[in-house]
Every structure is written in C-alpha cells, then in structure tokens.
Symmetry: C2
Subunit: 498 residues, 2 copies
C-alpha cells in the first residue's frame, strides 16, 4: 500500500497544479483585463510544463512500477484509480516533449491563422497550419502505438476504447435515420412557428430566470457559481468548486436559458463525482462523450420536453408576460424544438446537429488515414453539406471555418458531441425502467430523483470506467444509435403533429 500512497500524493500535487491552471483559465475568460494576455500565457505555460514534468519524471516512473506490483493488494476502487493514472502516464511518457512543444507552438499560430482566415473567409490562410497540425497529430497517433486505424489513437484521448470500426456503422445508421426523419417533417415546417424565441428579452431577467431554473434542477451554488463570458463553458477545480459561464442575447431566448442548463448539466456531473476520487486522475468525467451526455440530458431530454414546460412555462411567463402573451405550453414547446437543416453546427437543433458531426468525423478520419488532403476540405465540406443537409455554405467562413477545434489540434473531439446524444438517450431509457413516473416528476418540477439517479449511476463513478463499460452497466447494452433515433423520432412527430 505504500506505493499507492506515494502515487496518491503525486496525484494530489499534479491535480492541484491542474486546478490552479483551470482557475487561471476561468479568470482569463471572465474577469482578466485585456492587457494581461501575454503574462497569463506565460503563467499557464509554466504550470503546463510543471504538470507534464511531474507526470513523467523519474520519480513518477518508479512509483508506477512499484504500484503495478502492488495492484493485487489494493481494493477494487484503488486499482481503478491506479489504472487510470497509469494509462494517462503511459500516454504522456510515449510522447516526446519536442512533439508536445511543437504541437503547442503550432496550435498557438494555427488559432491565430484560423481567426484571420475566418474573418477573411479564406481557407487558404489557415490551410498550411492545418496541414501541419494534421501532420503532427498523425505523428502523435503513430507514436501512441499500433491501431487498426491511426485515428483510433486520437479518439482514445476523448473516448477511451472507442474505435473507427465501432463508430462508423453507428454514424452511418444514424445519418440514414436522421435523413429519413427530416424528410417526414420537411413538408410540415411551416406548421411550427418559433418567432417567439427572437423577441426582445431583458438580459438581467434572462439571467435571473435561467439561474433560478438551474438551482431548482440541482446545481449547488454553495460549491459553484455563474459568470458571463464570450463563449459559455463549465470548468471545475474539484467537485467543491465548479464554475459555469453563459452569454446573453437580448433577441435570442435560447442562448442564456438552454446554454446555462447545458453547462449546469456538466456542472452537476462535476459536483457529483465521488469524494474519495478528489485530487486523483479519476476525479473527473469518464470521457468527453459521457460528460456531454450529462449536459444534453438536462438541456434536451429534460428541458426541451413538454413535461418540463408544463412546470416551467408559468414561471417564464411571469417573468416575460408581454413577450409570451400569445404562447401556451404547447406552442412554446414546439418553438424550442423546431428542427430544420442549417449551415451552423452550434445553432442547429437536436436532430440535424448530428449530421454536422458526422461530416466532421468523416473528414478527420480520412485526413488522418491519409486518404484525403487538407486542401480538399472546403470542396468536400460543401459536397457533404449538400448531400446530408441539402444546404450549401456561400463561403468558407460559414462552412469549414466555423469551428475552432481543428486550430488547437482537437482532432478526435467532434464525435464526442454525438456520442453524448446517444449516451443520453440510453441513460434516459434506463432511467425510465427504474423510475416509471419520471415524466410526472419533471412536470411537477421534482428533479431531485433524476439528479439522484444520475449521481448514483454516472457521477459517483468519476473516471473509474471507460465510457463503454459505463454505458453497458447502465443500459445492459453496448453503444447504439437506436435509443436516440427512437427518442428524437417520437419528439419530432409530436412537435410536427405527425
């Protein structure tokens, strides 16, 4: 047990440094004065280098070797915690620091080039640095080890254990099902009017209303808070300090309301991680996809349900009586669930969103496999948009330059968004089995049993399981698109009166 104790001490040090870096990152997005950018970058680079150093130095290597021998003596929970660390440590050890540094330097330049390219709506400005980014990610994937598809080694950073061979057929069936559903509702688009969302809503009242809702859902303000930032996010410095941010648009009711519920879904996950996992490498979400399943569970499954608005609509109408005077629960529910093809991922709906992700996944996968060139991205993007969504971007800015992810080297990240939707639907079906009256509870504003269920089946596990182990345990089945297609199909037919 001595080696495990030393490993625990080491994890405490590293996670504390990580938490400090996260505080600095939060501050940068919320309150930091503009003139402080350069100094903050230096502080964050120093913390990163300390973290990398302490994860990989000779002392840590020696501890890991001893822990491996000691594993049989540990409790199951301790074994899981140790193995999570060992997995991260092995991956960090494999990556030469020159590669990591070159990736960081390239990311910094590529983010700048991406911003300029998007402003000018000219992909060629971004192309050389994206080509270099792809090249560096391919080198990273090669170094990590053998894999059927190189891309599997990138996916593994975000969704441990998931592979191209698992995702591809699921995404193919998901696209087919989505396109079929879209063709059902397209003739009825004019039946659903969502003008109400774009009226003028007082920003302070929006924030107060959204904050009241997330507190009722169960986000704990004693161990969390809400601030404003340009792009909404959730960050955690441990389960007792979870920060959400939101943005408010006076003429778009969705931005603050659903944005904050989404981030609170992430936040309640972080607040619910087992105390015994605090300051270890297992004291975080199981994967990006599982994390997204929590935010989407609350945002879409709960807060975009008709039952939810049975409870919430009267409160919202009290806040905005003038803007909502021509609305009832049903019309409001239909407005927030309008589904229609669009050019922009972030602004798309629950159904068409996945088509945006599948397109990005296929491009990433082919880039890393070497069967596609970076320079062909704009053409391929536009073809795929037309094929899947029937819309074509007028330029690169509203097409292949819309997302920041590739510029920071986040290849392998996009699939997590859709995986989150698939996991959330599987969780929802599993929840209804053990809690048959869950819809009534939502209609009564009684969210504690729902949060309790997620705490018990998802949150408390932290990162002691792979996402596939977790979803198998929860649902009794491996990852599938079936639950989501059933769920979204029922909602689409309800909304469009089919």
């Amino acid at each position: 047990m001595q080696a495990f104790q030393r490993l625990t001490d080491k994890m405490h040090l590293i996670t504390d440094l990580g938490a400090a870096a996260a505080v600095l990152g939060w501050d940068q997005e919320t309150y930091m004065p503009d003139g402080a950018v350069a100094g903050r970058a230096e502080q964050l680079a120093t913390l990163s280098s300390f973290i990398h150093q302490h994860t990989t130095n000779a002392d840590t290597v020696a501890i890991v070797e001893e822990v491996k021998k000691e594993l049989p003596l540990l409790t199951t929970r301790q074994q899981l915690v140790a193995q999570t660390f060992i997995r991260d440590h092995d991956r960090s050890l494999k990556l030469p620091s020159e590669l990591v540094e070159e990736q960081a330097r390239t990311a910094s330049m590529a983010q700048d080039a991406w911003k300029r390219a998007r402003s000018a709506s000219d992909f060629t400005i971004f192309e050389p640095l994206l080509a270099k980014t792809v090249d560096l990610k391919r080198r990273e994937a090669e170094i990590v080890g053998p894999a059927k598809h190189l891309y599997d080694n990138l996916l593994d950073s975000f969704e441990p254990g998931l592979t191209v061979d698992v995702i591809t057929p699921i995404f193919d069936r998901l696209r087919t099902g989505t396109v079929a559903l879209l063709s059902e509702i397209t003739p009825r688009q004019q039946d659903v009017n969502d003008d109400v969302l774009y009226r003028s809503y007082n920003p302070d009242a929006q924030l107060a209303s959204a904050t009241r809702i997330i507190k009722t859902l169960g986000f704990d303000m004693n161990t969390g808070r809400v601030d404003l930032s340009a792009h909404p996010f959730c960050t955690s410095f441990g389960s007792t300090d979870v920060r959400l941010t939101t943005r408010i648009r006076e003429n778009d009711l969705r931005s603050c309301l659903f944005g904050l519920i989404h981030e609170a879904g992430h936040g309640m996950y972080e607040q619910g991680i087992g105390n015994d996992l605090a300051r270890t490498f297992s004291g975080q979400g199981a994967s990006m996809g599982i994390h997204e399943s929590q935010s989407l569970f609350w945002e879409n499954v709960v807060a975009r349900s008709e039952e939810f608005w049975n409870w919430a609509f009267p409160h919202l109408r009290d806040t905005f009586p003038e803007q909502l005077k021509d609305q009832d629960v049903r019309s409001f529910y239909r407005a927030i669930n309008k589904m229609r093809p669009s050019l922009n991922r972030v602004e798309s709906d629950e159904l068409t969103y996945n088509l945006h992700i599948i397109l990005r996944f296929e491009i990433e996968r082919d880039l890393i496999a070497g069967t596609m060139e970076v320079r062909d991205i704009p053409k391929r993007w536009n073809e795929k948009m037309e094929e899947a969504l029937g819309v074509v971007p007028a330029n690169d800015a509203e097409g292949c330059l819309q997302d920041v992810h590739w510029s920071f080297g986040g290849l392998g990240y996009f699939p997590s968004y859709t995986l989150g939707k698939l996991y959330a639907a599987m969780e929802w079906n599993a929840m209804q089995v053990t809690m048959p009256d869950v819809r009534d509870r939502i209609a009564n504003g009684d969210f504690a049993p729902i949060l309790g269920w997620l705490r018990e089946h998802v949150h408390s596990y932290g990162r002691t399981e792979t996402p596939q182990e977790m979803i198998q345990r929860i649902s009794g089945r491996p990852l599938t698109e079936v639950d989501f297609l059933t769920y979204v199909g029922a909602k689409a037919r309800n909304v469009y009166g089919i």
Copy 2:
C-alpha cells in the same frame, strides 16, 4: 552570462507559480463559492511547497554559486536583480522546512483562535497560540543570523536593512510631536463637524464615483480591475494584471472612496514597475513601507488635500446633491481631516494613526527581546493607549485583539504603516522641489505629472534598492520623521484654524 540566464529562467518559473497562487488568493476573496474553502487551501499549500522547493533546491543553489562568480560581468541592473534573488534565497535556505511548516500550522490554528478570542473578547483564548507564535518567530530570528536586536531580523523581511536602533528614536520623536500637536487641536475639536461622512450614500454611486476618480489619477483599467471583497486589498500578478478590491458602506463615505484610492496607490506602483524586471524577484515593490508610501501618497497627500477637493468636490456633489447640499470644499475638506484619538487603528486619522503603530512596535520589540511576556499584553496595551491617546479600551476585542497581524505571525509588519507615512512626506517634499506647481496641478485634476514623477523616482526601480537607499536617493537624506510632522502639522493647523 550563462548562469544569469539560468537564474532568470528559474525566477520566471518561481514568479509564475507565485502569480498563480496570487490569482487563487484573489479569487478566494472575491468570487470563490463558500464550499470551496478546503480544496482551495490544498491547492495553495501545493503551490507554496513548489515555490519553496524551487527557491531552495540543489539546482538553484548551484546556479546561485555560479552567478556569484559571474557578478562582475553583469550590468548594474542585472547585478541588482541577482542580488535581490540571492538575498531571498539565502534567507529561505537558512530556515529549516520543519520550522516553516510549524509556523504555517501554528498560524492556521492561531488565526482561528484569534477569531474566537475576538468574538468572546477574551485574550486568554488567543494567548497560548500567540505565545507559541512569538516563540517560533524568535527562533526564526535567531536562525537568520547575528543582529544587535533579534527583532531586526524580523523587520528585515518587511523593511530590508532597517533596525530597532534606527526606528526607536524616530518613533519616540514622532510620538512627542504628535502628542504636542494633539494638545493644540483638542480644545478646537467641536469646530470641525464630520457628520456629512455618515449620511446615506447609494453604494453603486459610491463605487462608480470612486472608480472614476482612480482612473483619473492614473490607475490603468487595461491592466487592472476593481472588485468587491470583505477587506480591501491590492494584489498583482505582474505589472500587466493588477487587481484592486474595495468595500462599500452605505453610511460611511470614507470606506469606498478613500479605500479605493489607497489601493489604487498600491496598484499604480505595481503597474509602474520596470518591464525589464517582470518575472524576477525584483519585479515588486521595494518594501512594505515604500509600498505603503505610495498608497498613502495618493490617499492622504493628494486626496485629503484641499486642492484635490477644489477639483473633485463639484463632481462628488453632482453625484450626491442631496447629501452634500450644506457643504462646500472647505467644510468637506475639514470633515475628512478631523483628527481625534480613538480606540481603533483602522478607523483612526492621519495624525493619531502613528500612535497606534508605535504602541504595537514597542510591544513586538519587547516580546521578541524577551523583556515582556505575552500574557502581559492586554495590561500593557491599555496603559499605553491611555498614555499616548488618552483613551482606554473597555475590553480586549476593542483593544489588543483588534488586528489580525499577530495571528498569522506577521511580527515586524506594523512599523511599515508608519514608515509609509514618513516616506510619503519625504517624497512629497522632494516632488515639490522639482515640481513647484504641483498643488495647482492637483487643483486642476492634472495628475499625470505626479504619477510620472512617482514612476520615474519610485516605481520603475522595483525592488532593486533597499528602502533606505531609495529614500536617500529621492530626498538626499536618510529616513526622518521631520517631513511628516511638518506636513501633518500644517494640515492640522489649517483644518482647525490655528
């Protein structure tokens, strides 16, 4: 020059960690949710241990040895930077980590005991832990090295180079002069009415008004900001990121207004430190006393002057027309400068404040010298209060338990407050020599030349001089109480019409 480069790299690492710790400290006092206290303490402890480790490890010791050999090859500025680091490093090396850890543990318990003692107004609750604190500080002073008075080695942490033998006669004369001045104005106390300060002032308007003033004085909001906290402070994460806090009391106009100007004085100092000193151990104020001279310069010398209110009063009356309708510049100036003995250091005025400090200095000095026992503090405190100020606390809470400083082991700190007043008066006299029209400038709201003078003569030097070297350079004379007594005497006679 190679060793100096390595020393610079090392200082960058350590100051970045220090800046990260400062961000976490700022966040704790401004926005951190209540439930996060324990986790934050762990993060800060980890950062502290990294900082101590990297300041004292074998690698750093080796670099310091090489830099010492290389000194003659360095520029003067580089030599000063290197010597500042070496001085801090030597002190850190001398202190055994067991002592440092025991001091940290004792401080944590003593702060808790102090809070309980103050609530109960019972010094005996605090006494055992204060006795231990004094004992540990005495051990620290003994370890640091030979000194005529052990207390000199504690003073040295806050005011490098200053000694009991220098301070004692200056403080004695300061007390004599202050008491004499008090006896002049006491018969005229009823002539100065300060009721205006305690009317009801809208908190938002107070903050907006104080913020406008510090921006006009020269605090740069592009590299700084203002937030609220229970106790006002200034903290810096480098000269490009300086945070001020203030508190607002609806029925006390002084709290936010003069509090924020005071902190902005600290903040402008930090913003003005030479860029070439960034991320080195010289990239901070010269000493606690010099830092305090900057905050007091703006708060008292500038913002409590009659000239300042010639400019500022019309603006303030626009903000609070009802509350200030019976006031003019002269009556307001007299109100904010009322000088009268009181029990509380923080709420005392420019003149009597120093009597509170001298009392604390003498007690600290005698405790460390071993000529006084901790248990005798309440009695000695009350005797000295009666002797110097003519008032006696009714209990320990309003007497010897009013300050937090001793509970965290800050013995040697109190003198800095009065030294700041003496330095500020010397700076003011030096400034008037090179800028004879400075009073007119203040009256016209033209503060840029004043800030420019302080930038040139104080700020840009950072911590490359001892405070005594600095004040000698600026004024051509060593530390003296004469300038302050002349300055405060003139003000007292003006205010009281003598």
